[in-house]
């Protein structure tokens, strides 16, 4: 298929100060696949995700999205969503205002979709609470809600299952599985194995920090 969505990285490396975190990292992820980045703390998992999502620029090697380099590639940026430890939520805004802000940034204006998304993540009842009044788990859910308000093909998730309860984790996993089934791509870090997770069948593993 000519339009199969693929992200491929070739020979990436990352240097922090004087430390070489990793080098020679290569991978390919295509539609319906989930790349699970594993490794001990401080091995550069987050740095790798930041390279992929374009916050940091690659020093060696390159990342290609459907054959085109991802640097300053607005097509790639509009299809890639990055959810980090820092949730990207404004404390002074309510939950729904935070979500509306991101929706409008993407040029969409659809109030119903906002309510739907919050309901999907089971945080509709706190829609009008300020983000600073939300619990950590609710904030995580709200940051995830952003993935659903626009059509992102590639989800880059940094420790998505940290700080949420079992119910939340199941919810997140089912969202991820739905995303993969509809032809999405996921690159995620998670410090535990995903063997007993529904994501396991879509999963391939990339181990960092084996030196």
């Amino acid at each position: 298929m000519p339009n199969l969505k693929v992200i491929s990285a070739n020979n990436l490396s990352c240097v922090r100060g004087d430390n070489l975190l990793f080098e020679g990292v290569s991978f390919d992820v295509s539609e319906g696949q989930c790349l699970h980045v594993t490794g001990p703390n401080g091995c550069g998992k987050t740095s790798l995700l930041r390279l992929i999502s374009g916050i940091n620029q690659t020093e060696t090697g390159c990342i290609k999205w459907q054959g085109a380099n991802t640097n300053d590639n607005s097509l790639f940026l509009s299809e890639c969503a990055y959810i980090a430890h820092k949730e990207g939520l404004k404390n002074e805004l309510t939950a729904i205002e935070n979500l509306r802000y991101y929706q409008q940034l993407d040029g969409i204006n659809d109030e119903l979709a906002l309510d739907d998304t919050l309901a999907k993540l089971k945080i509709l009842k706190c829609a009008d609470l300020l983000a600073q009044q939300l619990s950590f788990g609710q904030r995580r859910r709200l940051s995830f809600a952003r993935l659903l308000i626009a059509e992102f093909s590639l989800w880059v998730l940094d420790e998505p299952f940290t700080g949420i309860d079992t119910d939340g984790r199941e919810l997140m996993e089912s969202l991820c599985v739905n995303h993969l089934k509809s032809g999405g791509l996921i690159i995620m870090t998670h410090h535990q194995t995903l063997l007993d997770s529904p994501l396991n069948q879509y999963r391939s593993e990339l181990q960092l920090g084996q030196a």
């Binding site: 930041r50 999502s53 374009g54 916050i55 940091n56 607005s74 097509l75 940026l77 509009s78 890639c80 990055y82 980090a84 430890h85 820092k86 949730e87 990207g88 939520l89 404004k90 404390n91 002074e92 805004l93 991101y102 940034l105």
Partner: protein
């Protein structure tokens, strides 16, 4: 910004207090305050703008929204222009609106008040835009405020020269059009060029 009223009030109060410290510390000679008042107000405006800059990107950096802006397909420089102008309306614009009141306390004649007001109106957006470059460069540092001052204050000198110079000119009964044009030119330059510098600085500092 408007839900966080302290960031709105702080620069204004700082501006008024700095300007009002001068009458207390200077000899009470009849025309002295009137002569230096304009300059004092300009320096206070510069310092108050300076003070507000540290918080400009800080919360965005802390909560991760700045990273999200970096990887958004829309132009980062355009977003930064909007951010700087929004910041100006909450700091520089308010200072400017309050400046005539301070002029009255310095007993500055009314024809000079207008010159000061227009000067600040043209000058403070440039102060914010140029200052935002410094704020962007120091956003990842814990105590960036002093560094912003060291980087940015020298760049404020031209604005200060033209802005405060106008008042001396007017006091001597001379034309001030050239200084107004100069301030407007600096503003045009900073509106067009500073957003790119801010975006570039953010891309370098955040990693």
């Amino acid at each position: 910004m408007f839900r966080n009223t302290s960031s709105l009030i702080q620069p204004l109060v700082f501006f008024i207090i700095i300007a009002l410290l001068f009458p207390f510390s200077l000899p009470a000679e009849g025309l002295l305050l009137q002569r230096i008042g304009g300059g004092v107000i300009w320096v206070s405006a510069v310092l108050a703008t300076m003070l507000s800059l540290e918080s400009m990107f800080h919360s965005d950096y802390q909560d991760g929204t700045l990273e999200q802006m970096l990887i958004h397909p829309r132009s980062l420089s355009l977003a930064m222009l909007g951010k700087a102008l929004a910041h100006w309306t909450a700091t520089g614009l308010i200072l400017t609106l309050f400046s005539p009141l301070l002029c009255v306390t310095f007993n500055i004649p009314s024809e000079q008040i207008w010159v000061l007001f227009t000067g600040l109106l043209l000058g403070t957006p440039s102060l914010t835009l140029i200052g935002a470059i410094g704020a962007a460069l120091t956003v990842t540092l814990r105590r960036g405020g002093v560094l912003i001052a060291i980087i940015i204050l020298p760049l404020y000198i031209p604005i200060l020269i033209f802005g405060a110079g106008m008042l001396t000119q007017v006091a001597q009964g001379l034309e001030v059009t050239s200084q107004l044009y100069a301030l407007a030119a600096i503003l045009a330059l900073s509106i067009t060029l500073a957003p790119f510098a801010i975006a570039g600085a953010l891309r370098i500092t955040i990693n």
